[in-house]
């Protein structure tokens, strides 16, 4: 808990990438997200923290409309990426998800080869004109996922044969292969051991050069280590949002303070 120092807080000048206004999410009769307003900065890492069931994952899944696949889920309010309302009727979720990549809690590579895992996104969106093009995309994505050196000799081995940490980096590589602008990560390290976790965290730090990263995490140390902005969710509401070092050093809300000092959670 002594590692709550935050790293390079240089996001002040960045423009807003994602802006949410009055977002409400209902699961059947449950009011899961209550009136969330947040502005997420471009090319930065923003972490969502909060106790289990506070709605942080639900809100994350609103950003690429993954909640659309759940029948009983209703999303209201306004979420914009670069000013475009992503819940507009003219926006196709398929197109949106090419723009907003996602990495899940449990590494979930397809039961295909490493190459095919990464190539799948570009293939369905028609991003590669030739075989060589695709090879290029796959290599570049695997390099961005910091896993190229480990797998370059066995690109056609099954992705499910990798270790947990490698699988998760493969999933990150798969997510960046469609060249998205935003990367959503839903507790990407919760199934990984400490060494794999630190590798993924390092990777997240490098990803912010190119992408706007939003990460949901249970670990406050992780939020402190990788993110510039932190949002604290509690019981479906966004309680406090600000620079990560501010949130951890002197939280304004008593609930935030209780959470980060370990009294709720």
């Amino acid at each position: 808990m002594d590692d709550l120092r935050a790293v390079n807080r240089d996001v002040g000048t960045n423009a807003t990438k994602i802006s949410a206004r009055g977002v409400q999410v209902h699961y059947g009769d449950t009011h899961a997200i209550k009136d969330v307003e947040v502005d997420i900065k471009e090319r930065s890492v923003t972490s969502f923290i909060g106790p289990s069931g506070c709605g942080k994952s639900t809100f994350l899944r609103c950003i690429n409309r993954m909640n659309d696949t759940i029948d009983i889920c209703r999303v209201e309010g306004d979420i914009r990426i670069d000013g475009d309302d992503i819940y507009d009727r003219t926006i196709d979720p398929v197109q949106l998800r090419a723009r907003v990549g996602m990495v899940f809690q449990k590494p979930n590579p397809f039961p295909k080869s490493i190459y095919d895992n990464v190539a799948y996104g570009p293939k369905i969106h028609g991003l590669a004109r030739s075989r060589a093009d695709m090879d290029e995309i796959v290599e570049q994505s695997l390099r961005r996922g910091a896993i190229w050196d480990e797998v370059k000799d066995r690109l056609h081995a099954p992705g499910t044969g990798l270790s947990g940490g490698q699988q998760q980096r493969l999933c990150i590589a798969r997510a960046v292969a469609t060249d998205p602008e935003v990367l959503l990560m839903d507790e990407p390290c919760s199934a990984l051991d400490p060494i794999a976790t630190s590798q993924v965290e390092e990777l997240i730090d490098t990803l912010r050069e190119k992408y706007t990263v939003v990460i949901v995490t249970h670990s406050m140390q992780q939020a402190a280590r990788v993110s510039q902005k932190t949002a604290f969710f509690h019981l479906g509401s966004l309680v406090e949002y600000g620079d990560t070092d501010e949130i951890f050093a002197n939280p304004k809300d008593s609930r935030t303070e209780s959470y980060i000092s370990g009294r709720i959670g």
Binding site: N64, M66, T69, D71, V94, Q95, L96, R97, A98, G101, M102, V103, F104, K106, N108, P109, F110, P111, Y120, G121, I124, H125, T160, C171, R174, A175, A177, T178
Partner: protein, 430 residues
């Protein structure tokens, strides 16, 4: 609890745990013993079934034959009159040559001699002569099946001790048989006719070819109809259909459909396919369509279960990179569910292969002596052939019925083995 003395003081938690331990162990022991008993009983039943089938059926896998030196007498058979000719007289004459006690001019005795041979023998000879008319005037060696009573006699199913008046062969006939054994004319060979002949009134000629082909055409039709329809319905219901009252209603009804007695499907097919649509009776096509009605719910249920078993993380992964619903389903979910779908389909088809009642109703229990060349020809199927043979009075059909059951069972075992193989080969670990 009772093994702790009531006078004991300060019972610790450990004592209480120990007290309940023996009871818990006993319960587990009883449960395991019951399980083992149940499995043993099931195996015993299976063993009895197979043992009785094999003990009666194995006799049908051999066939008693008689080897004759046949002089193809040009006076009886002339090349101009082919394929007609007195082939039976030629055969009887050849037999009489081996039986010195018979006067070739005694017509009644010659009829008895001719009766030793199967009725099919003359056709076998005719086919050879028609194929090669130059045989006329020559002497050829010919192996032909003996008729059923003599076959039974060799297999020990006809008791010589029975009073002559109650026996199917009288003393003279048995004497003929013994004489033929003596000169080594009678042999026993593998009964290939069981698989290569179609049905016949004569047990020694009856085979399963017609039934196997009938079952093949019916199953092919059943597969071609039920596989695409069943999978299509299952994919739509599981992946695309909105979850509402109507889809619940459909789901309940599909499950009910799987439980409808097969004879009801047979009546339905009789009324609709044959009655309204005027499709041919006894045709494997109609049989296959009827079986498809029964197989479809099985395939739908198995496919839905297989689709459900694909982990949601795979769907999320595909959706997450921007795959459309259709791409998720056909690119990831269906291929991963395929082993389960195929297993369900094969098990559904295996059920269809053994189904009898609906086929009886659409007339696939007719007596048909040629194998169907197309699904539109009249035919029987394996289970209905068993039904027909089981109903036939000739003794020879008793063992043939068991043999046919063994053939059907081996087809079923083969299909289930394929299903098991597919499941283990394509099974994935997550």
């Amino acid at each position: 609890m009772t093994d702790i003395p009531s006078g004991s003081v300060a019972r610790t938690t450990m004592d209480m745990v120990r007290g309940s331990l023996s009871r818990r162990h006993r319960k587990q022991f009883i449960l395991q013993a019951l399980g083992i008993t149940a499995i043993s009983l099931a195996f015993l039943m299976l063993f009895i079934l197979l043992a009785s089938l094999i003990s009666t059926g194995h006799k049908a896998f051999t066939q008693t034959e008689i080897t004759l030196e046949v002089f193809i007498d040009p006076e009886e058979i002339s090349a101009e009159r082919l394929p007609r000719g007195n082939f039976d007289d030629v055969l009887a004459a050849a037999l009489a040559a081996d039986l010195p006690s018979v006067d070739p001019n005694d017509r009644a005795a010659m009829r008895v001699v001719g009766g030793i041979l199967s009725n099919g023998a003359q056709f076998q000879l005719r086919d050879r002569v028609v194929a090669d008319p130059s045989l006329i005037g020559q002497t050829i060696a010919l192996s032909v099946p003996v008729s059923d009573p003599y076959d039974q006699l060799r297999k020990g199913l006809l008791d010589r001790e029975t009073p002559e008046s109650l026996r199917r062969l009288d003393d003279t006939q048995i004497a003929f048989y013994d004489r033929l054994i003596e000169i080594g004319a009678i042999t026993s060979s593998l009964n290939t006719g069981l698989l290569t002949n179609a049905d016949s009134r004569f047990p020694e000629l009856a085979g399963l070819k017609g039934a196997i082909m009938g079952s093949f055409w019916a199953l092919l039709t059943c597969f071609l109809i039920s596989f695409p329809l069943g999978i299509g319905a299952a994919i739509y219901l599981e992946e695309f259909a909105p979850k509402n009252k109507l889809s619940d209603f459909i789901e309940v009804n599909i499950n009910n459909l799987a439980a409808v007695p097969s004879v009801v499907f047979g009546l339905l097919a009789l009324a609709v396919f044959i009655g309204w649509f005027g499709m041919p009776r006894s045709a494997p096509l109609v049989g296959g369509m009827t079986l498809a009605l029964m197989t479809m719910p099985t395939i739908i249920i198995a496919t839905r279960a297989a689709l459900k078993a694909v982990p949601p993380s795979i769907r999320e992964a595909a959706l997450g990179v921007g795959a459309s619903k259709q791409q998720v389903v056909f690119g990831h979910v269906v291929p991963l569910a395929m082993p389960g779908i195929l297993t369900g389909t094969i098990i559904g088809l295996a059920q269809a292969l053994g189904e009898t009642a609906p086929l009886l109703l659409i007339g696939m229990n007719a007596f048909i002596t040629s194998a169907p060349a197309t699904p539109f020809d009249s035919a029987t199927a394996l289970p209905t052939q068993i039904f027909i043979w089981a109903d036939s009075p000739e003794r020879g059909f008793v063992s043939r019925t068991s043999a046919a059951i063994l053939v059907l069972l081996s087809f079923l075992i083969m299909m289930n083995a394929i299903a098991t193989y597919l499941r283990s080969k394509f099974e994935r670990k997550w």
